[in-house]
Subunit: 352 residues, 3 copies
């Protein structure tokens, strides 16, 4: 009898602290992937859009959008980490360490840094630190995520709970490593779409990104396949029709990319996501939903050793089927307001 | 208090004759963009499809589709020119001056060449001449368009009306500058898909392009984002559902590209659009519509100094939800016939 | 009076045994096309996904997916072979002879190798052997297909019936020509996603590929246009709404690519389709259908002269709107079971 060759994914009891999982399918990112990405979200940041703009300020060429890097690395982890996940609970300590250029090949590995069984004994939370590397073995991205994963067998023994202590935010000193020293004299604020630079933003400022984008099923599926993310909830209507939502669920990364692209309108010079301090998919998004976004500046910070760039910490909030002029976030009772689907805490890099 | 950083677009009173607007986000066109473009429309012109075909006749490599160039340049103008537009009224004097190749970076600027307030005092017509340039600063495309734009304040003073005199058609002497001298002996009329060349077309000939293509919401949105065109009417169903049409409007450029791709069947050797003499989006197109097209030859012309290529002036008509065997255009009363959505006057270049 | 310049396609009486048709529109395959292809199906085979993986084992760079090559070549034949087809009846003797890399230009020609009029005198079956070549003139792909084509005129004389004798399967000695000699020591079975190699598969083994993918209209249209396939049944809802199915038909090649991508889960190291021995589109597929797939190993074979790779002959079955844990294929009466849409007989290549 042949062995079952289909990957059934890992269950909660398959994870142990210290374990390292090398994920499959290294992927070369090409200008083709960049074009598909652009056509799905419509970002307009000049550094990623234009070779000449990027080269003028010090890049080798136009770098790949940070979120395309993130989603590609994330996608690789799905078959090993979250195929049996009930929920993707959060992200932390995500930072970008090196620019990725078309032609680079990305691979990913994850180390299990925490496990905690749920009191229902049917599932548990797994914490992993995932590292994305380029073809030279250099780390381009590192992040922690935690997911709730089903147990294969409710009776299997409970592991010693290990819950990693995670930083509330990435330290400013660690930001901007993926950005070469910029020749700011050649940063054209007309071509970039806005005169506002780092010093023009201040804590507590709120920005309605104004535009809304309706998401089609074909679009989120195409995006999610681009990342080789195989989580079935995004693709299989036949099965999902029997489930809780009766519909396919949009991959949360699609909402992240969409709201990031919308944020150009108000944050045009925030050309680089240096870190994701925290992220929460507050509510599900479905095909047919219209996504709006707004941002709140949480703090601004100098980056030690850098006189060319500074960091703005922003909360990027995505909302569905509701405009954001009034910056919807929480109810008076402290719950997320109706329509809020994403609450993301980012470090953005802008020219000084 | 921080300044509002979101772009609200220009209103009628923000435009003045002589004003030059440099548009944001230069864009490097890659083979990835070409592939996305091809997958959305399915053009089959051999020169743009095949490096070997293009090089055999004298191009450096396969040039980028003229309309991908046009839409990319056009897309850049939207945040500055037409964010508050009520209607895109027309195009004229559009000509292509230089071939664009993958790797080239396009940027755009517009000069205001006319303004005329409407008698309702609530809006006016703005005429701009837009210039698209490559990374060397060379003009690849120049065109005039005029749009009806809302006033911010009905009470603001009426400007002196300036209405530019526009040519009825681009002069044949100005055509073909984007086409290198062709080695016609190496132009393979089998590989190109048709034996018909310039001399085989004559004024008054009508060609039904036969095929029809149904347009999905995901397709026109993806196309429009590829051009970084942010006009909200194309993307936001949540908002549009409250509007006149209750639906998203398809970007007119999608209809242009679709009918151009369909025109291969009958005009396979018209490998280059040298000029758009005039263009009118006669009626709106929506997701779910099926687009058909037909062409009428208006005139043919030699291009001074060129023995390799000649020009065919054609009216390209796109029609929705109705086949074009009877070449629908106008009613006996002179109105556009039901279903006609585009009436475009083009100079096409064919081998002699 | 001008000649009709629109291609009406060939009818049954236009085909004669021995005739060779050179098809139009050579096409340069770019990394852009690869990216669009990947975003539409989500394949994860490491050789095609990663330049570094491919180069480590002996490829110049990541080769183009075999099916993108197949569909591109196939697409070129449509205007000449199957524009007036009633049905695409089958494939045989399809083998891949040379790796295709991004930048290669593909063209196609077909030789008529059989004709047989149907007893109804209204149509007949045409057999063609199609050859796809790269820019150096080297054959990359050769296959036979047969289609039922309408007659232009029922009264036209019946040709002498010629029915080619087709091999039941491609000989193992002919397999693997598109695969360079592999350095197996550098084939990383962790990165490739599975430890199972050639020797781990045995005849009669059945593999449920587990995942299902719902197909949107925009997705299959985009895929089919990518191949420059113009068969109207895939694109024209306005016309199809009047026909038998009331809907657009999904191009069969989309189902092939989708089930191939799904087959990664269970066949991750079957990185190359060396041959298609036979293929049948058992039932139509429509937008909104969810496609599942399973495989049965029919035989395994050594490839003479190759110690690096071996061949697995597999039946790849695609099924719609029904999971495949029970490997649906035929009813007790020998008919295809409800839901089966594709029955494909493939030679796959795996590392030994």
């Amino acid at each position: 009898m042949s062995k079952v060759k289909t990957n059934a994914g890992n269950f909660f009891e398959d994870f142990a602290v210290g374990q390292v999982l090398q994920h499959a399918t290294p992927r070369t990112i090409t200008t083709g992937d960049v074009a598909v990405y652009n056509s799905l979200y419509g970002p307009r940041f000049a550094v990623q859009s234009s070779t000449t703009f990027a080269q003028a300020i010090g890049y080798h060429e136009a770098p790949v959008d940070d979120l395309l890097v993130f989603h590609t690395v994330f996608g690789k982890t799905v078959p090993d980490i979250s195929l049996n996940a009930i929920a993707n609970l959060g992200y932390a300590e995500c930072w970008f360490l090196e620019a990725v250029y078309p032609g680079d090949t990305l691979s990913a590995a994850s180390e299990v840094i925490g496990v905690r069984e749920n009191s229902n004994r049917a599932s548990g939370v797994v914490y992993v630190r995932t590292t994305g590397r380029n073809q030279s073995g250099r780390v381009v991205l590192s992040y922690v995520r935690w997911v709730m994963v089903r147990k294969r067998d409710k009776a299997s023994p409970e592991p010693t709970a290990v819950v990693p202590k995670l930083a509330e935010r990435v330290e400013p000193a660690n930001l901007g490593q993926a950005v070469p020293t910029l020749d700011l004299g050649r940063y054209d604020f007309t071509l970039s779409g806005s005169p506002y630079r780092w010093r023009d933003y201040a804590a507590a400022e709120k920005i309605d990104h104004a535009d809304g984008m309706t998401l089609e099923e074909a679009e989120h599926q195409t995006a999610t396949r681009l990342y080789q993310n195989t989580a079935k909830v995004h693709f299989n209507l036949h099965e999902q029709a029997q489930g809780q939502f009766k519909r396919r669920l949009v991959y949360g990364g699609v909402v992240i990319s969409l709201s990031r692209a919308l944020s150009f309108n108000g944050l045009a010079n925030a050309f680089h996501i240096a870190a994701i301090n925290a992220g929460r998919h507050v509510a599900p998004c479905f095909g047919g939903d219209t996504v709006y976004a707004w941002s709140e500046v949480l703090e601004t910070a100098e980056i030690p050793g850098r006189r060319d760039i500074g960091a703005v910490r922003a909360r990027l909030v995505a909302v569905k089927n509701r405009a954001c002029a009034d910056h919807p976030l929480k109810t008076p009772a402290g719950e997320y307001a109706e329509g809020v689907i994403l609450d993301l805490d980012l470090w953005l890099v802008l020219p000084r």
